[in-house]
Symmetry: C2
Subunit: 388 residues, 2 copies
């Protein structure tokens, strides 16, 4: 989740990056990291492709679709090499509506407690799309991977599927990440090798021509510009799997951190934020509309969002917007609360969500502070004043 | 989770209840509801049967094992009737180490915020055992239930498995509950029809001769003295499924509650508590040992426990005890922290756990208060003084 460009190259490795929508709020230009403004984020259930948050670790690779090949390595030395046409034609197209969230979403709130290392994301490092592609499960089975996920006495949960991207630093080291093989093989987990985003081909910033989409899991595992898929007894050796994207006790600092001691983030905890009004706003007396999003990892759909106008002393339940495919809880819920507010009042608006396992968000940021500023999911607070 | 005895019976329907261990702390005698004292709770990883928390809704039925029959109803009118010997012999014995927790565990902390309806459990309505029995999956397949859980386009997740106990009120209405069919059929979810608890037959208070054990799910679904299992398109019509064991916004009271609006609790959220020292204790200066348990629902094993001695301002990481079968996260973690404490200090000891999905416990009780006092999983706080 670092923003430093690859070192020691001649010329600008980012010169070939695509154009971007001017409404995006840029956290880092090279590599490009940007989020939509909060008001636009909750204007529609599916985020328009050009406003979808962009989290690039490296320059955007230029891929010629005609010569693109995806390498898929099974456990016994068997391997497939798939062209884009083969990926589209050999495997049924599967579609999933899923929210992706960066581990660093809402990091800027954590930095206010104590500085952390990472991009200063506000609340917009989260977006939702309808993804279309081949199921990773189908591709792995075609590569000879045996499906014994139903057999809980097996040790499948100890194996992993490692992904590498075509994006690489100056030394040629690509972006990489992994997920457990069990998730990769689960029909229910719906992991995709996606070539479509909201009905069109993937934009270059989102992984053209093929990216992984792991519903319910931190965005960092949904590797873009996918070059290879390999079944392995170990997690990805990549920096981003081993030395990043992990959570720690607030007392752990850069001198004491042991990245081997914490599990790599996969499923994310329950999350929500207020997109309207904005902090510090002056709102009109009368009926106030509060809007936001709520989401949880692992397919645990959001079942309730509580909103407070008085800093958390009293709460009322927000109205949840419609969600397609209830029961496959990969997508966020947009929510809204309307409440009368008196002229001259100072409101401390707060939201917190509850997911299907009745997990809730923590009240405050400091006790979940961690040196990388990930997993920032405390109650979201928006102070406003009501005009006279 | 109510303690009221069945009405209008002649004689004492609880007269046949079994004897109990004198160390148990009784919250209600008829029906019997009791928990082990905290110090005993974390003395061993597996809770001795006689100290396992007991949560009875009704009188303990007297079951003659020779004439016991379990009725299993599939979807197409097909049914099985199994004797205890048949259940033991026809299906392979499967063993699971799983923690069960009552939805009302730690309710007494919630009552201190504002009164709630329910038994005043302290922190001991949670215990761990090694369970042995037939897999519910195997029994359902033998009853003709089709396994299409791997097919995510099916609507299996809309079906349920309903359980009824042999315990009944004066009108003959039995205890009942249900779980989703998807969980019941999942080999990985390891749902048992258990006839063994820590290597012996089930004690009468824990469901002799057969009970359900649903790992990772609220105790209320692990129906004891099991009489029938039925596959159904709807959840159990039982009071305890429909009008109880659900979570609500703190603003919902008995006038406004709509039990149809909230999902029945299945997986529980992340939880932890301090078992030693006890609140108000005077501890010796020098090295203090803090002990406790931590657990989360859905198999999401606990990955970290943070402990504070100053009310949550600073934190250190507790040492987690060994857990058998890492990766099948059905059982709690016992933990311990040793820290030097100066004479005369006042300590506000706090613990909070983090599970594999990086969900955390909320800081405080009031914002998760609900009228039934369930899901009480805020940070656990134990104030102590250090002697001079
Ligand atoms: Mo990320
Ligand atoms: Mo319970």
């Amino acid at each position: 989740d670092e923003a430093s460009p690859p070192p020691g190259d001649t010329g600008d490795p980012f010169a070939g990056d695509p154009p971007r929508h001017p409404a995006l709020r840029v956290n880092s230009l090279k590599p490009f990291n940007a989020e939509p403004p909060p008001e636009l984020l909750t204007q529609s259930f599916l985020t328009p492709n050009e406003l979808f948050f962009t989290r690039n670790h490296l320059p955007v690779p230029a891929v010629e679709p005609g010569s693109y090949r995806l390498r898929v390595e099974g456990p016994g030395g068997r391997a497939l090499s798939l062209s884009l046409a083969e990926l589209r034609q050999r495997f049924p197209k599967h579609e999933v509506t899923a929210t992706l969230q960066c581990a660093g979403n809402r990091r800027s709130e954590m930095s206010r407690v104590r500085p952390v290392k990472g991009l200063a994301w506000d609340i917009g490092a989260i977006s939702t799309a309808r993804w279309g592609g081949a199921r990773l499960r189908d591709v792995l089975l075609a590569a000879g991977v045996r499906d014994n996920t139903g057999d809980s006495t097996g040790d499948d949960n100890e194996w992993h599927v490692c992904f590498e991207g075509l994006d690489a630093d100056a030394s040629g080291t690509p972006y990489g990440a992994s997920i457990p093989l069990k998730r990769a093989l689960s029909a229910e987990a719906e992991v995709l090798l996606a070539y479509e985003m909201n009905g069109t081909e993937l934009p270059r910033d989102h992984g053209f021509p093929v990216r992984v989409v792991v519903p319910g899991v931190v965005g960092a595992r949904s590797v873009k510009w996918l070059r290879s898929v390999a079944v392995s007894p170990a997690e990805s050796p990549s920096h981003w799997q081993q030395k990043d994207y992990k959570g720690f006790c607030p007392s752990v600092d850069w001198d004491s951190v042991d990245f081997g001691a914490a599990p790599a983030i996969q499923e994310l905890p329950v999350q929500s934020a207020i997109t309207e009004p904005r902090p510090g706003a002056a709102v009109a007396a009368g009926e106030l509309t509060v809007k936001g999003y709520a989401w949880s990892g692992g397919g645990r759909e959001v079942v309730r969002v509580d909103v407070s106008l008085d800093g958390g002393r009293t709460w009322r339940e927000a109205e949840l917007g419609p969600r397609p495919e209830r029961g496959r809880g990969w997508a966020w819920a947009l929510w809204e609360l309307r409440a009368p507010v008196p002229a001259g009042a100072r409101l401390d608006i707060v939201c917190k969500a509850v997911d299907r396992s009745y997990n809730v968000q923590p009240d405050s940021v400091a006790p979940i502070w961690n040196l990388r500023g990930v997993l920032s999911n405390a109650w979201h607070r928006v102070p406003v004043t009501v005009t006279r």
